[in-house]
Point group: C4
């Protein structure tokens, strides 16, 4: 299959790197094309490169769908339904979105600016090659309840503070705090401590409420950020722990690593997406002849002999 | 009783969802009504919907008070005193505030803008259906001493920095840093790293003090945010731990779950407000036949046989 | 001795509360006096209240110094040297600074604005009654090396980014980025994510460097904030642990608390500055007949019988 | 060797302090020289001091390279290759960069402003004397994969939000959101919660997207900051743990410390860069006759006798 991520076959790696480079250049060109001067002078280059990229991405898409049956999962095994099922995976949709606007342009009259933004969605094609994005999505899914609950609290406080500020500042600055939606924009800008300065309370009471909003905002915003950060670091820890458990199963404790053990460990390392350095440091911990691992932080606990 | 939150009866659920939808639409309409254009064009719709909501909320309020005696707590058991006692719970007051301004409007001449803000207090009715708000209030109550102590330090530093900045910047910008209350507004905006830009020091010394204020502010603000975040995550952990303990009590270690065990666990899960996925993952940890649980993080500790 | 903080004698408490109230009103009046309108209209009230406060604070100061020998520490025992030594403690200096400017005003011609700021130093008199400030100073002292090392890194990066930005933006905005000190002000405002908006890079390269400065700033600023937060929470934990150890020493395991035990625990609670609720929850943990406490987090570890 | 950092020889210490002072004054002068007024009035002092510093730094550089063979590492042992190898260490390059621009000025016509910035690179010479910088670089190197992965996610979201905002705001504010690179500047300023206010969305949809960008930005930025902070504190912990292990090896458990033990501990303390207070507190924990240390947090675990 095309682009077997993290695969060790040098040809697959080459194709991977070529695609990553192509997508990157593509995004940079899409960004630059929006600059008027560059667009006028180098428009034809941007145009030609876009056609070339769409061609490559189309071939890539067709090949990916075609070879979907070779993915090592029973769901995709069936020649027809497997491929159809693959069509609706997140990555396949991203791949489709990367090329569809171009073909759509032949039939429908798409707005140029919307077209450019749709083209920049190609940047998400890069996420296939990034494990951080995957872990992040996993963490978000797992902590979805907590995060959404906190965002709900955020929104409730936001609405309350915005309506309070509207009441206090509207008489003094009727142009700026013209309605509650405007005041909500002020509240978002304040609670995230952005502070653009386009809307600033000027009455004494408004400033008191504004200060409270900022202080409360810091507290409310710190919660989901903290939950995300700890969820993320726990994920990384678990990956290391899984590797450690494989090491314990695979490695016979006495003597150096045998070729078969090395192959197995390397396969596990790639599957878990650990860097060679990380794997080495885990091995080092494990190789000191320890028996007991803390199941939470994945580190070795030395024990006195009984 | 109406709106038994987290209840499994489908009718209760339906009423819950209907009320949540009504409150949400209500808040959106109150926000939109403040926009002048919309208010002129669609004013009668907003008006009609408000009347309808007040009617529903009034019925809800009366029913809630009436059925208060059926809450499973001895305090509310008495036909009269129980209901009176219920009237003074936080949720009942929120429910009352949601409808009172409307009826008050018949007798007193309430300011339109104040009315709108009071109407937006209805957003707090939603907190009945959110466990995050409850946990947050719990955490705030438990850490109240720490948080208020830190806020005190924040205020002391704020006053000191504001008066220092007033002394340094007043001669140069007498209009902007006109008095110490203004300088305190600057200090709040700086210490929370909001930085609106409406008041900016321009003297060399003022900028040095401003820079120090920002750096100190980051440190001082990080403390309560950190305390809140760790308090919140400990709360979530404890809930999981409680579920785990119930599992240990309820489940007979050998064999799969029996129907009675399943019912008990489900009831516990709902009472603690855990998602089915969270409960499943806790069960998984527990089902591996472990004996020792860490009472702090709620996770299982594998031990070698003695 | 006057103002034995946390003391249980009701008269001492009354004096404490009176002083706290006086200091608070004093600060509020000093702040309000800087507002021109209020100063003109109510100037005489502010004036009279200031005279009254100085009188009270002077008496307080003299009494505190006089009774210094009764502090339960051998250093202050000596009738003369003990009192002189007390004069140079941080709290005594704060007390002196609160009254000195007033008396100095008779001899020297002090600037009015400087006077006002010096008067606001009285806010630090409040720190005597706050344990948070004390813990914070302790944490700062203990982590001084780490924090100052991080601030050093902050300053090095600040200087480098400022000089880079000066080179890039000076030709385009010679008025704004006029010299490196100005650019350093920009760098502080950017690295703390304040973002006043008074100095904004406008060249393409300047914006790239500006973006990097902000991202690096978030990382560099997060470090000392994190160290402070964890140091602070460890302090709180240790206090609880100390209480727990006293409980273990004092309480005879069987039966409810005896009057003598209760008195001892209450004294310990006050000495450590714990709230009654905190103490209760610690007692609850301890009262379940456990033997082993984790010395790090202060919580009880349940163990299987051997 | 010159400047043996953390060495206990008083002469070496004196040279170290002298060099630190010289570098600091140098940086301050370079910063002040950029201020036009000062540059005109005191130009000759700045000039003379710069010549003097370059002379000292040149001698320092030559001596450092010459004595490189005396560093206790086999790589630098060879009289020629060892010195050449030393030339390419990070610190040697920093030392070279500090003097090279001056000598280059004789041959090439360097831009004055660029010269000044290059001169300010001397501030990095200070990092030789700071352990925090070293630990920070270590942490960055170790967490490089995580951090770069998160920065990648940051960039992907940045590009997407920028292009979306460009599409929404360009028609309304064609001057401000003129192209996608400009919109990316807005996105950086928003996601880091800088909020300069030079580019602010004004359409309703633009504000909704802007608010989401800020909230997402807080979450995305919190991750690498959290990883850095925890990595840093783990580093500090490990240093303490290493000291503790040395203590356990060196100290014979019964009786006070002997002179030889004291010398050994002092040497370890200096090598690990711990403050005397930190070392003392670690010793205190260890001296209570404990046998088992938690290998993760470096603290002592009391155990019941078996």
């Amino acid at each position: 299959m095309l682009g077997g991520e993290g695969h060790s076959d040098p040809w697959v790696k080459l194709v991977d790197y070529a695609l990553v480079t192509l997508i990157t250049i593509n995004c940079i060109f899409s960004i630059l094309e929006s600059v008027e001067n560059l667009s006028i002078v180098h428009g034809h280059i941007f145009h030609a490169f876009d056609h070339f990229s769409v061609a490559v991405f189309s071939i890539e898409y067709v090949l990916r769908v075609w070879t979907a049956v070779e993915i090592n999962q029973p769901v995709y095994k069936h020649p027809l339904w497997g491929r159809l099922r693959y069509l609706f995976t997140a990555m396949a949709i991203v791949d489709l979105v990367a090329i569809l606007p171009f073909y759509l342009g032949f039939f429908v009259d798409v707005d140029l600016r919307a077209m450019r933004v749709l083209r920049l969605l190609r940047v998400f094609k890069l996420t296939r090659y990034s494990q951080a994005m995957g872990i992040m999505v996993d963490v978000l899914r797992q902590e979805a309840r907590s995060i959404s609950a906190m965002l709900f609290v955020f929104v409730v406080i936001l609405i309350f503070m915005a309506s309070l500020m509207y009441m206090l500042e509207h008489p003094r600055q009727p142009e700026v705090f013209s309605d509650i939606p405007s005041a909500m924009w002020w509240a978002v800008v304040t609670m995230t401590t952005l502070g653009y300065g386009d809307m600033v309370p000027s009455t004494a009471l408004g400033r008191v409420v504004g200060g409270c909003t900022a202080v409360i905002g810091v507290g409310v915003i710190a919660l989901p950020a903290g939950v995300l950060a700890s969820g993320f670091s726990e994920r990384l820890r678990r990956r290391r722990q899984e590797y450690l458990e494989t090491v314990d199963k695979v490695v016979v404790q006495d003597g150096p690593l045998r070729p078969r053990e090395k192959r197995l460990l390397e396969a596990t390392r790639i599957a878990l997406g650990l860097s060679p350095e990380e794997a080495q440091s885990i091995l080092h911990y494990s190789a000191t002849g320890v028996q007991l691992h803390c199941p939470h932080c994945g580190e070795v606990i030395h024990r006195d002999p009984p």
